[in-house]
Subunit: 326 residues, 2 copies
């Protein structure tokens, strides 16, 4: 079953307005949700929308709340998210980082007390589409043990880098866990194994069995000890720059909210060199010489987007019906 992008977006808009979003907020929020599904990130598009609405109903996500600037020092700013819708807060923060970069060459907006930003990559695409380099990350609820530990203590802290490029933007969107819980669940349901080890079983052995990892709550960080270290410093940076909560504090609450995020933008037109040629050189070297088996980050999202724009977005009926009934 496929639904046209515009139809999906309009349906989200309708529901969001019903829950008190202003027309402009509803349009942007719907665009971000539908855009995630359009690019193939179904887990943070349509499939996530019902949970987002549930969090609004429960009061974890505050519909009319707007981010507020607490402090500014030139291109470095601290903002308070007031627990507003995470994707609107994040979008606003990346826009602000770009404004700062347009003035100062580089801009950094740290946002505390916000909510889950849904598809991380959205804000990399946002920056790249406006001609900016965008680097951003978020912390999360603790969902991965530290290296050598056994209890969840690190977030999977997705990191995004967006780089503008005429033939298709480069957008890296990666969590610090080797596999998401969503992926583990999907493979468990399908009765499949992971392609590479993804965590520990209850006995402390590395395994490719998603069910065993879901039982132990010990998924692997990327690169074992390395990703664990990177996850930790991303969390520390997000908390210290925003003044908001670190993962261990987020974990004190029953659900994941009041997150900390960092948005850095760089305006490459403020450089004196031919930055577009630099970018293009790397991509040409990678793609042309290797052929079809190799992709640059963002390339497959763009392919999926093109296909889904043409044929409609594949949807799981249960989620689509749930939204229609809202």
């Amino acid at each position: 079953m496929r639904i046209p992008y515009q139809q999906m977006k309009q349906e989200f808009e309708r529901v969001l307005k019903k829950f008190g979003f202003s027309p402009a907020d509803a349009e942007l929020c719907a665009r971000l949700f539908a855009g995630a599904s359009l690019d193939g990130v179904y887990s943070h598009g349509l499939n996530r929308f019902p949970l987002f609405i549930k969090y609004i109903r429960q009061g974890w996500v505050k519909v009319g709340a707007k981010p507020e600037r607490l402090h500014a020092f030139g291109p470095l700013e601290q903002w308070h998210g007031h627990l507003g819708p995470g994707n609107l807060n994040a979008y606003h923060s990346m826009q602000r980082a770009m404004e700062l970069a347009a003035t100062h060459g580089i801009g950094c907006v740290a946002l505390g007390h916000t909510n889950h930003w849904m598809r991380a990559g959205s804000y990399g695409w946002q920056a790249a589409e406006q001609g900016f380099v965008g680097i951003c990350w978020t912390n999360t609820i603790p969902n991965m043990p530290a290296w050598g530990g056994t209890r969840p203590r690190l977030g999977n802290n997705p990191l995004v880098v967006g780089i503008p490029r005429q033939g298709g933007h480069i957008v890296l969107d990666m969590a610090m866990s080797q596999f998401s819980y969503g992926k583990l669940n999907a493979l468990k349901l399908a009765g499949e194994q992971l392609p590479v080890v993804g965590g520990y079983d209850q006995a402390g052995q590395l395994t490719t069995d998603p069910a065993a990892i879901l039982e132990s709550w010990r998924p692997l960080p990327i690169g074992f000890w390395k990703g664990a270290g990177l996850s930790l410093v991303l969390d520390v940076l997000a908390a210290l720059l925003s003044g908001g909560k670190a993962a261990w504090q987020i974990g004190e609450k029953p659900i994941e909210y009041a997150l900390s995020q960092v948005f850095i933008a760089i305006d490459p037109t403020k450089l004196a060199t031919d930055w577009q040629a630099s970018v293009e050189g790397v991509i040409q070297n990678l793609v042309e010489e290797e052929g079809e088996g190799v992709f640059y980050p963002g390339q497959r999202s763009l392919r999926t987007r093109t296909e889904n724009l043409e044929k409609g977005i594949p949807v799981e009926k249960q989620y689509w019906e749930q939204v229609q009934q809202m």
Copy 2:
């Protein structure tokens, strides 16, 4: 065999002056080399020094060359390294990024046409010791295939994050490969296997055999496809921001030189929040609750430093004698 830190540093200084370094340059360069060994990074301290001198003799590293600012736009600057000593250029660039951060809150120095910076972590410690957050990375010669590819096309592009902390700075220093070639060689010589898979053998199978990976030239990126993507964007950013070479261009030369690097500093004293409490909270949560098996990034370097300052730095006799005879 152990050598006191001061003795090692003085020996390096003596040799560097002989090769034309000014007294100040010799002191700093010797401090960075001896500091790497002091912290246990022997591969980029004493053990690397003879190769550094060889590159000076061969003219790849230009002794008196100083980095030159090509362009400035507020806190964003582009510098040309003129193929000077890589650790001096990198140290200078992080200092400059901190100067910019002291003025603007955040500073970014991109450096092209420089040389191998030796121990990556040095510049994270440098920033943290002066009370700044420091983020830096370098590109390298291509030494890892892209995900899905078979020929070396990505650099291992070490990434460093330094965060000041009173009880011991947080310093993450990680290359994008799961294991360095140095580590693979050491384990091969010792007849040992890797603790986890580290690359492919000639038949394209994942393996823990370091010899097989050294034959295939196909080491694994951290997190498989994820680290490959991160390596790529770090390379693109280094090249586009500096205007210098990307990995594929560095790979056109017989040896690794004319690298591109990025140095970002943030002055946390320009924030309005209690950033020290943020940092300390994360570390206390991690270390106190987990006990001895868990370390924060930088913790073990500090332990090694303390031990090596007291007992002397362990040296491999061959390297030490080589330097003494210079």
